[in-house]
Symmetry: C2
Subunit: 203 residues, 2 copies
């Protein structure tokens, strides 16, 4: 009756990495799929292939500290995906389509398991674990900044750019959630078209 037994897909990262890095990556992936509360340190040590004591060696103050580090890692990972999608398209409307495409691909390739890596953790800890909430807030700001930067060279007024960056990130978040739950890329495909259309009304 333990839900953990439903865990299907392996998570073990490249064994050539250092121990600390393997722990962080494994934690990040598990929190992406199961959230903060649903991820046990024992499971992390098992899936990372390291001893439990090693986890506490690198993260002496425990789970919370490790979670913050995992969110920071996820921040960089997701930023890389965004940057890649945005860099390939000069036109901002095309860039939106590219973003939703790449997110859909990642989702499908992981059998709809790997959506935004921090959303589950963000919701579980909002208002209850300030250290994690702060790391989450910084990630969202970081990602929004990437979109802002991309929209800035398009002739759109600065105020509109800042507002658009909010809605771009938030709509991507919502559409990815819907795609994950419904196991379909349709929500993302629609979101891409609508974001492109919305941006074009400002040009």
């Amino acid at each position: 009756m333990n839900d953990k037994t439903r865990q299907a897909q392996a998570v073990r990262p490249d064994s050539s990495l250092g121990t600390r890095e393997r722990i962080v990556r494994t934690t990040s992936r598990l929190m992406q799929r199961q959230g903060y509360e649903g991820t046990a340190i024992k499971q992390i040590s098992r899936e990372a292939g390291v001893a439990l004591s090693s986890v506490y060696h690198f993260f002496p103050s425990g789970k919370q500290e490790l979670a913050v580090e995992a969110v920071r890692h996820a921040d960089q990972e997701f930023a890389g995906i965004l940057r890649e999608a945005l860099a390939g398209e000069d036109d901002p409307a095309d860039a939106m389509i590219a973003c939703t495409r790449i997110l859909a691909t990642h989702l499908r390739d992981s059998d709809w398991l790997d959506g935004c890596p921090i959303t589950a953790t963000a919701l579980e800890t909002a208002g209850r674990v300030p250290e994690i909430q702060q790391a989450v807030t910084r990630s969202f700001e970081h990602w929004r900044g990437l979109v802002t930067e991309h929209l800035r060279h398009t002739g759109i007024a600065e105020n509109d750019v800042l507002d658009l960056a909010h809605t771009v990130i938030n709509t991507l978040e919502g559409a990815e959630l819907a795609a994950q739950v419904s196991r379909s890329d349709k929500p993302l495909e629609i979101a891409g078209r609508h974001l492109a259309r919305l941006i074009n009304t400002y040009r």
Copy 2:
């Protein structure tokens, strides 16, 4: 060091309700704030003011069955909020503003704790607990249907209405998440304006 001790705001529902209803409502509220994994049945019984055995009396097969019922309750609750916001405005663009306003009010009044009641649970259980995932999927479809219905009497083509309903719900989800994490109604305010603008491009 127990995160549960950070639990600040009380949750206890009206004591005039039947026991079963109190259990479901308490579960729904706790899962909204802490997710599925973060919510213990012992905490539910404590906050609902009922014996642990009563929980198992009404939900003999345990936590999962109770969670499905809680998602169904949250479905109705959130649908009520949406319906209320949509019913007050004939113009669909105005209705978007009304939706984001009412969501922002609920969030602020709960000290930014009560966002979408099922998102955290949805993400934790996606791909791992099919029974819950199915209840979540139905809720999203239900809410999307309410938006579809509202947009249908506006002269917008049926295909566009169906697509718009997706993005309306998904953008509301994403903006509410961002508002909750950043403790600000700004993401929702922006989302309202952008959804109104997007809809107006179809008229």
